[in-house]
C-alpha cells in the first residue's frame, strides 16, 4: 500500500462493485498498481477478474467504486476514453476484425491518412512492419486475421495493445493460447514495456508464470478482494490456497504407464493439403496420448483431419481394427470419436444459448423420446450434475453461456464431450483458461476416463501438463511427427529438442 509522502499509485481501484442479474460479480474490490511493476491478478474461474478489467477499460460502468490514475480521480466513460487515458487492454475474448488484415486491425481508428479522408495502406503496412520489427515478431502485416491460428491472433492482439504506447497495459489471460516459446517472447515484450512510468496488470491461471513475470500478486475470490503480496517470497501453494480457499495437492506424480491395451485408433500416413505430412500413430485403450509441439506445428490440424472437419489428402484411419471413412464430424461422432476444439468461441460454445443446451449438444439424440420430443427434465438433471462435478459457476442451467466467465465456458465445452459417451476423445487445449483448482479436477477426470478404458488424445501447449498427464507423448514439428516418448523417458528438454528439430531422415524416434 502507498505510504505517506510516497508517489501515488499509477492506477488505484477503491471499493469497486458490479452485479449482473443473479450474480454479484465484484463486491467492494481494491487494487493498486504501482509505477514500473507487473501486478498479477489471480482467482478462480468466475472470481471477477475480467469484470474488473472491463470496468477499467470502460466497457462496463461500476455500480459503485472509485478509480484513480496517478492520484487523480477518473471516470472511465468508454473504451475510447480508456485509450485516451492511456489504458490499453487485451481482452480475454478476441476483439479482432477477421476480414481485415493484421495491419488494418492494429491501426483501426488510427489509420495513416492522406488529406484526412484517404488511406495510405503502404504507410500502414510500413508502420505495422516497423512495430513487428521493434517487437521482434514474425507477422506479415498483409495477412487476413481470419486465416490465422488462435495463437497468432493472440499475438496480433498483444501487438495491437502495445502499439498504443499506453501507460497501463492490462492483459487478460494473454498466454492461454500460447506455448512456452511464445510465452517467453511475450515476457520479453512485457519487460521491455515496463518503465518507471508504466505498469502492467497481468491475469493468468498459470502459476509458474507468475513468478517469472510478476512483482506482486492480488488475489480475488468470489468477487471479493482477498490479499495482495510480493511474489518473490510467497510459495505457490499459498497463492493457490488463498485463491480456492482450501488446500490443493499441487504437483502430482506423473501417470504411470498403463498396461498397453488393445489398439483403438490407428492413424497411418495421414497428410493434408496444408501442413500435415505422413503422420502415423496408434492410440490404445485406456491411454492418454499427449501431443506436444510449437505453435503451428500442426497438432490441431491432425485432430481436425481425423474427425473429418478438414479434408485429408491421404492416409487411413482404423478404428477397432476396421478401416473407417470419416467425411465429417458427424461420422466421427457416430463412430465414437469426439473432438473438443481449441477455439472455444468459434468452434466450441453456442454463446447465445443456455448452459444445458450446450451441455447436451453432442448427445442430444440420447434425450429424444417418441416423435422427436425432447426429455427436458433429464437434460436438466444431466446439466445439473455436470455443473456440480465441474463446479461450473452459474446461477442456473438456464443462464446464457455468453454470461459465464471464460473458464466456466471452457468447462461447459468439456461437459459437452463428457456427456457423450465416446471411445476416443481428442481434447485440444482442454484446460485453456481454467483455474488451478479446476485443472486438477479435470486432470483427475481425464485419468478416470482413461481408467474406464477410453482412449484420449490430449493436445496442450503447456508442457508440464502434457508431462504430468500423458502415458506417451507425441512431438510434432512442422506438420510431421518427430518423436513419440514414453512418459518415463520424456523430459522438457528432449521434447523441446524434437519440437524444434525436424528429423531430416524422416525417421520417427519411437520411445
Amino acid at each position: 500500500m502507498t505510504k505517506d509522502g510516497a508517489q501515488p499509485a499509477l492506477l488505484q481501484v477503491v471499493g469497486a462493485s458490479k452485479s449482473f442479474p443473479g450474480v454479484q460479480a465484484l463486491d467492494n474490490v481494491h487494487l493498486d498498481l504501482r509505477h514500473g511493476e507487473v501486478l498479477a491478478v489471480v482467482g478462480e474461474n468466475g472470481a471477477g477478474k475480467s469484470t474488473l478489467m472491463k470496468l477499467l477499460s470502460g466497457i462496463y460502468q461500476p455500480d459503485s467504486g472509485e478509480f484513480f490514475l496517478n492520484g487523480e480521480q477518473i471516470h472511465i466513460a468508454s473504451p475510447r476514453h480508456a485509450q485516451e487515458l492511456g489504458i490499453s487492454v487485451i481482452h480475454q475474448e478476441f476483439n479482432l476484425m477477421p476480414d481485415l488484415t493484421i495491419a488494418q486491425n492494429i491501426f483501426i481508428g488510427r489509420e495513416p491518412r492522406v488529406a484526412r479522408l484517404f488511406l495510405s495502406d503502404r504507410e500502414l503496412n510500413r508502420k505495422a512492419q516497423e512495430l513487428f520489427d521493434r517487437l521482434g515478431l514474425a507477422l506479415d502485416p498483409t495477412s487476413l486475421v481470419s486465416e490465422l491460428t488462435v495463437a497468432r491472433q493472440q499475438i496480433v492482439e498483444i501487438a495491437k495493445a502495445l502499439s498504443y504506447n499506453a501507460r497501463v497495459l492490462i492483459m487478460d489471460e494473454p498466454t492461454a493460447a500460447l506455448n512456452d516459446v511464445e510465452v517467453e517472447t511475450l515476457f520479453g515484450l512485457i519487460r521491455r514495456f515496463t518503465t518507471p512510468t508504466t505498469g502492467v496488470i497481468y491475469i493468468s491461471h498459470r502459476m509458474q508464470e507468475l513468478r517469472a513475470i510478476s512483482d506482486r500478486i492480488t488475489v480475488l475470490r468470489d468477487g471479493q478482494y482477498v490479499d495482495t503480496f510480493d511474489t518473490a517470497p510467497t510459495p505457490v501453494s499459498h497463492v493457490i490456497s488463498l485463491m480456492v480457499g482450501r488446500k490443493i495437492t499441487g504437483e502430482q506424480r506423473p501417470a504411470t504407464a498403463p498396461a498397453v491395451g488393445e489398439t483403438v485408433l490407428s492413424v497411418t500416413g495421414l497428410s493434408t493439403k496444408g501442413l500435415i505430412k505422413d503422420v502415423s500413430f496408434d492410440l490404445h485403450k485406456g491411454e492418454i496420448l499427449g501431443f506436444a509441439g510449437l505453435m503451428g506445428a500442426g497438432r490441431t490440424e491432425i485432430a481436425r483431419a481425423i474427425v473429418g472437419a478438414d479434408r485429408s489428402e491421404s492416409g487411413t484411419i482404423t478404428l477397432h481394427g476396421k478401416k473407417v471413412s470419416i467425411a465429417n464430424p458427424a461420422d466421427a461422432a457416430r463412430l465414437g470419436i469426439g473432438y473438443l476444439s481449441e477455439d472455444r468461441k468459434r468452434f466450441g460454445v453456442l454463446l447465445e444459448r443456455n448452459v444445458k443446451e450446450n451441455v447436451v449438444l453432442a448427445s442430444l439424440v440420447d434425450y429424444v423420446a417418441a416423435l422427436g420430443f425432447i426429455n427436458d427434465r433429464r437434460i436438466e438433471q444431466t446439466a445439473k450434475s455436470y455443473v456440480s462435478t465441474l463446479r461450473i459457476k452459474t446461477p442456473s442451467t438456464s443462464q446464457l453461456v455468453k454470461n459465464l466467465s471464460g473458464g466456466n465456458q471452457q468447462k461447459v465445452v468439456i461437459a459437452k464431450w463428457l456427456a457423450r459417451d465416446c471411445d476416443v476423445l481428442i481434447f485440444d487445449e482442454p484446460t485453456r483458461g481454467i483455474d488451478v483448482g479446476a485443472k486438477d479436477e479435470i486432470y483427475a477426470l481425464l485419468n478416470e476416463l482413461a481408467a474406464q478404458g477410453k482412449a484420449i488424445i490430449m493436445i496442450s501447449s503447456e508442457l508440464p501438463e502434457v508431462l504430468r498427464l500423458s502415458h506417451r507423448i507425441a512431438v510434432m514439428c512442422e506438420g510431421r511427427l518427430t518423436a513419440i516418448f514414453d512418459n518415463a523417458e520424456a523430459t522438457q528438454e528432449n521434447i523441446m529438442d524434437y519440437a524444434t528439430r525436424f528429423s531430416a531422415e524422416g525417421t520417427v524416434k519411437q520411445g
Partner: protein, 327 residues
C-alpha cells in the same frame, strides 16, 4: 448457494417469464383497443374472423419461415413457391383428375420438394440462402406461369376443394376451416420448435453452425430437413390460397415473402439466427393483420395506410426491445 434460493429464484424467473409473454403482445393489445374505440364495427365477430382469415396464408408462411430464419437462413421463395403449389394443386386435381386427398397431399409435398431443393442448394452446394432462394423465387414464379399456361386453373372436378379453406367449423358463425388449420399449425409448430430435436438443432445451427457441426451434428442433413419442412408450410398455404379463391391463380405471390419475414422479425426472431419463437411470429402476423384491417374498417385513405403501418411497426419493435432490455 442453497437450494431454497435457487427455487425461489426460478419461481420469480417463471413469473417474470409469463409476464414477458403478455408484454410481448402489448403493442398488439394496444392496437386492438385503439381500433375497438375508433370503429364500432371492428369488434364484430365477423370482422375478427375476417382478420384471422386474412392472416391465414401469410401467417402459415411465416410459421414455416420462422424455422429457417432461426437457423440463420432466409427463404425468399415462399411467396412465389406458394403460387406454384396452388397451380400444382390445380394440375393434380383438374388436369390429372386425382382424388381430392391425393391432390392436396401432392401439392403440400410439392412445397416440401421446393424446400428440399433450396436446402440442397444451400447445404450441399454451399450457396448463400439469400441467393439460393432468390433463384428459386424467380424459377417458381416462372414455372407457375408456364405450367398453368398463364391462366387460372379452376377446380371443376373437385368442387369440394373450396371447403378446405371455407367450410364453416361452427355452424352459423362462419368460422372457416382454414383458420382452424392455421391455429392447429401454430400449436404444432410451437411444439416442434420448442420441444423436439428439430427445434433444438435449428437453434444450435443458427447460434453457431461450426460449433454445432463439430459437436457431431450432421448440420447439412438437418438444414435440408428444415428447409423441406418449411416447404410443407408453403404447400399448405398454397392449397389454402387456391381453395379460398376456388382457383389457382398463377400470378402474384411476389412480395408475400417480405410480409412473412417481416411478421417473423417483428415477433422478435433474429435474422442472425439462434433466437426466435412461434408465439412471436403469431403476434407479428396478427399485428400486421389487425393494423391493416383496422385501417380499412376506419376507412383511412389507402395512401396513408402504408405510412401508418410502417410507423407502427417501428414503434412496436422499439417498445419490444425496450421491454427485453428492461427485463
Amino acid at each position: 448457494m442453497s437450494t431454497t434460493t435457487v427455487q425461489r429464484r426460478s419461481l420469480v424467473t417463471n413469473l417474470r417469464g409469463s409476464l414477458q409473454q403478455v408484454l410481448a403482445a402489448a403493442s398488439l393489445i394496444l392496437i386492438f383497443i385503439f381500433f375497438s374505440i375508433a370503429s364500432p364495427y371492428f369488434l364484430l365477430p365477423a370482422n375478427l374472423i375476417g382478420i384471422l382469415t386474412a392472416a391465414t396464408v401469410t401467417g402459415i408462411l411465416a410459421l414455416g419461415t420462422t424455422f429457417v430464419i432461426i437457423t440463420g437462413g432466409i427463404d425468399l421463395s415462399i411467396g412465389t413457391g406458394m403460387v406454384l403449389c396452388a397451380v400444382m394443386a390445380g394440375v393434380f386435381l383438374t388436369y390429372w383428375g386425382w382424388p381430392l386427398w391425393a391432390g392436396v397431399i401432392g401439392a403440400i409435398l410439392f412445397g416440401g420438394l421446393i424446400g428440399f431443393v433450396n436446402g440442397v442448394a444451400i447445404s450441399v452446394f454451399g450457396l448463400p440462402p439469400f441467393i439460393a432462394t432468390l433463384g428459386m423465387m424467380l424459377v417458381t414464379a416462372g414455372l407457375a406461369l408456364v405450367i398453368s399456361g398463364t391462366k387460372p386453373i379452376y377446380f371443376k372436378s373437385t368442387p369440394d376443394f373450396q371447403n378446405i379453406m371455407n367450410l364453416s367449423l361452427i355452424p352459423g358463425a362462419r368460422f372457416p376451416l382454414g383458420v382452424g388449420i392455421f391455429i392447429v399449425l401454430m400449436v404444432v409448430s410451437a411444439l416442434i420448435l420448442g420441444r423436439t430435436i428439430v427445434g433444438r438443432y435449428a437453434f444450435s445451427i443458427g447460434s453457431n453452425e461450426a460449433a454445432t457441426a463439430l459437436s457431431g451434428v450432421n448440420v447439412r442433413r438437418w438444414k435440408i430437413f428444415i428447409y423441406s419442412f418449411a416447404g410443407l408450410f408453403v404447400g399448405i398455404a398454397g392449397v389454402l390460397a387456391a381453395s379460398r379463391l376456388s382457383s389457382a391463380q398463377p400470378t402474384g405471390g411476389q412480395g408475400l415473402e417480405l410480409q412473412a419475414i417481416a411478421a417473423v422479425v417483428i415477433g422478435g426472431t433474429s435474422l442472425q439466427g439462434g433466437r426466435g419463437s412461434i408465439v412471436g411470429t403469431v403476434i407479428g402476423s396478427l399485428i400486421v393483420a389487425v393494423l391493416t384491417n383496422g385501417l380499412r374498417v376506419t376507412a383511412v385513405p389507402q395512401e396513408w395506410q402504408s405510412v401508418v403501418v410502417g410507423c407502427v411497426i417501428l414503434v412496436a419493435v422499439y417498445l419490444d426491445m425496450l421491454r427485453r432490455k428492461g427485463a
